[in-house]
């Protein structure tokens, strides 16, 4: 038996390396262009750390609050047959395919002071515009599809026989959902959480329209770039990317551990 390396496969490897380089090179370039001094100056900048904190918690809040409705909805989409299901699935994907600035305009129209929701919020002391609550809504709008799709695929992959067996053993539908469907789809749901969280955290377009202030980090990077130039925006970007990477590594680790 001989194992000659095919020229075609070598070519594929070469293409792959180019793609990888294309992703890694700008990021690495940015890291190397940032001096130690600038870096430490940035992480001790109160404005930056506050903004990163805000970005993290609003994105986490968006994920958790909307998950409460999105995950059960994903189960329905995976299990039930109904009319216009294709249409419903298409609607869920809309936030992914439209420009995020347009999504921001839509969300703003929905939550501004003169809308019903806006007035309702006002009456209990929540203003959405230029407020973390508005940031949460904008982030959720653009990132929700990632959670719903991942959770739906996760539920669909759970063999229905387990749910049937649990019902047959006397479990109520609610108990079946919490003790069988949810744990068995947990890995996919966790991965959906992480995707939604990540997507929310990196959102710029929709948030900048709903709330320029308080400033989430993607908006701050844009503002520093516009006002002071590349050299000022870069250290903030570097710090934020590092924070994102650390968070993802941590969440991935935790989710793998929880499904072991």
């Amino acid at each position: 038996m001989y194992n000659r390396v095919s020229i075609f496969h070598l070519f594929l490897w070469l293409l792959g390396a180019l793609v990888l380089l294309f992703i890694a090179a700008p990021l690495l370039g940015m890291f190397f262009a940032t001096g130690k001094h600038e870096f430490f100056h940035t992480i001790s900048d109160k404005e930056v750390t506050r903004s990163i904190g805000l970005t993290l918690w609003t994105s986490m809040a968006a994920t958790l609050i909307f998950a409460a409705a999105a995950v059960p909805f994903a189960w329905l989409l995976a299990r039930k047959k109904f009319r216009f299901k294709g249409l419903v699935n298409a609607i869920i994907d809309i936030p992914i395919v439209i420009p995020h600035s347009a999504a921001g305009i839509a969300v703003l129209g929905f939550i501004s002071r003169d809308t019903m929701l806006g007035r309702l919020g006002e009456s209990i002391g929540i203003s959405f515009v230029s407020n973390p609550a508005g940031i949460v809504v904008a982030m959720a709008f653009v990132s929700l599809p990632f959670l719903i799709n991942a959770a739906r695929d996760g539920f669909a992959a759970v063999p229905e026989k387990y749910e049937k067996a649990a019902l047959n053993l006397g479990a109520s539908p609610a108990r079946v959902f919490f003790t069988i469907s949810l744990p068995l789809a947990w890995r996919s749901i966790m991965s959906g959480f992480i995707m939604m969280f990540a997507r929310g955290m990196s959102e710029f377009g929709a948030v900048v329209i709903v709330a320029y202030h308080p400033m989430i980090t993607p908006v701050m990077i844009y503002e520093r770039f516009g006002a002071f130039g590349l050299a000022y925006a870069r250290p903030v970007a570097v710090v934020f990317i590092l924070v994102c990477l650390v968070f993802f590594a941590l969440l991935r680790y935790l989710s793998n551990k929880s499904t072991e």
Partner: protein, 349 residues
């Protein structure tokens, strides 16, 4: 008692039609049918997964037709067991008890009892991924028995097991039935039906075409499906014992020598009707069983003729029409039946 009155269900081009069936408490009812005959569908109707279009289902005289699955006490063992993969064996068995808020102590006790009964005590802490198909079936069975179900529904429970495990599982099911558990078991395997059932139903294309004791159904098949097992019509129950160094099968009316490989004790024997030779005179041959018999019926089928001969019990013999003619066989003729010990299949109970 489980009763189905006029159950009908349309499923695309398939219809379950006018099912009328009564299963008494304590019966072991085996529903025998090919895949696609509707037998699993019917089980689904009893369990409540499928809502019939028409008809009524009662369990212990209570109409359960519209009752949700979780409120019927009809425990089901699925064809591929459906043991929850994210719970240990012990938690799987405890699951129905936790739902009913039993005390921890009671749960532990009941789990231990059922594990003992089903022979899985040593597996309680394991997870399903590390179990064999046979062990999974036992876990599923133990789990469903915690409910003390009014009826136990089994969907091809032995299909995924190898031959050795099957006989152990059969023994377990038979014991459960002896303790009074009503069982409805669907299968495509007539041997299972013969070995387990107190009553058999044959289902074909969504209709139940025959019910009766295994003996009745297999000896007098009323359908092509049951008749496909026509070779199975020489089917006798009795014991095998050792006699003068030979293994001999006997019951009240029959005594035949069987192959040395057969195990002793209670069993069924099966002789294919092609393996029996008819003669006018007794003669010495390699066939060690020679029975005196009298012809009861001669029935012509399009490609063979079947002679029914009474040798204490009816024997069915397949011949060509040509042989019947050349031997000039007629009803009431006295004949001899010859068959080799090795032509007898022993199925140990």
């Amino acid at each position: 008692m489980i009763a189905l009155h006029n159950i009908s269900k349309k499923f695309g081009s398939f219809t379950l039609a006018d099912i009328d069936l009564q299963i008494e408490a304590g019966e072991y009812f085996v529903l025998l049918g090919n895949s696609g005959s509707g037998k699993t569908l019917l089980l689904g109707c009893i369990a409540g997964f499928i809502q019939p279009d028409m008809g009524i289902i009662t369990i212990n005289s209570e109409d359960v037709t519209r009752k949700p699955v979780q409120k019927r006490n009809a425990g089901m063992v699925f064809h591929d067991s459906a043991v929850f993969p994210h719970m240990s064996v012990a938690r799987n068995i405890a699951y129905p008890l936790e739902i009913r808020r039993y005390k921890k102590k009671e749960i532990a006790l009941r789990v231990a009892q059922l594990a003992e009964l089903t022979g899985i005590s040593h597996l309680l802490q394991r997870y399903p991924a590390k179990l064999s198909a046979g062990e999974m079936q036992r876990v599923a069975l133990a789990r469903v028995l915690t409910l003390k179900p009014d009826v136990l529904l089994l969907d091809e429970p032995l299909a995924s097991l190898d031959v050795q495990l099957r006989s152990g599982m059969r023994q377990l099911l038979r014991n459960l039935n002896k303790q009074g558990q009503t069982i409805i078991h669907v299968t495509h395997d007539y041997e299972e039906a013969a070995l387990l059932a107190t009553r058999v139903g044959i289902i074909e294309q969504g209709r139940i075409i025959q019910t009766g004791s295994p003996g009745e159904v297999f000896r007098n098949p009323r359908s092509a499906f049951a008749a496909r097992f026509a070779g199975f019509r020489n089917f006798y129950e009795g014991q095998i014992a050792e006699l003068n160094g030979k293994k001999v099968f006997s019951n009240a009316t029959l005594k035949v020598v069987v192959a040395d490989g057969c195990s002793l004790g209670n069993c069924f024997i099966v002789i294919r009707s092609e393996d029996i030779i008819i003669s006018r005179e007794a003669f010495a041959s390699s066939a060690c069983n020679v029975l005196n018999a009298k012809i009861q019926f001669i029935e012509s089928h399009h490609d063979y003729t079947e002679v029914t001969a009474d040798a204490g019990l009816p024997f069915y013999v397949k011949l060509t029409a040509h042989s019947v003619k050349s031997m000039n066989l007629n009803v009431d003729d006295n004949i001899f039946l010859h068959f080799k010990a090795s032509a007898i299949n022993c199925i140990t109970v």
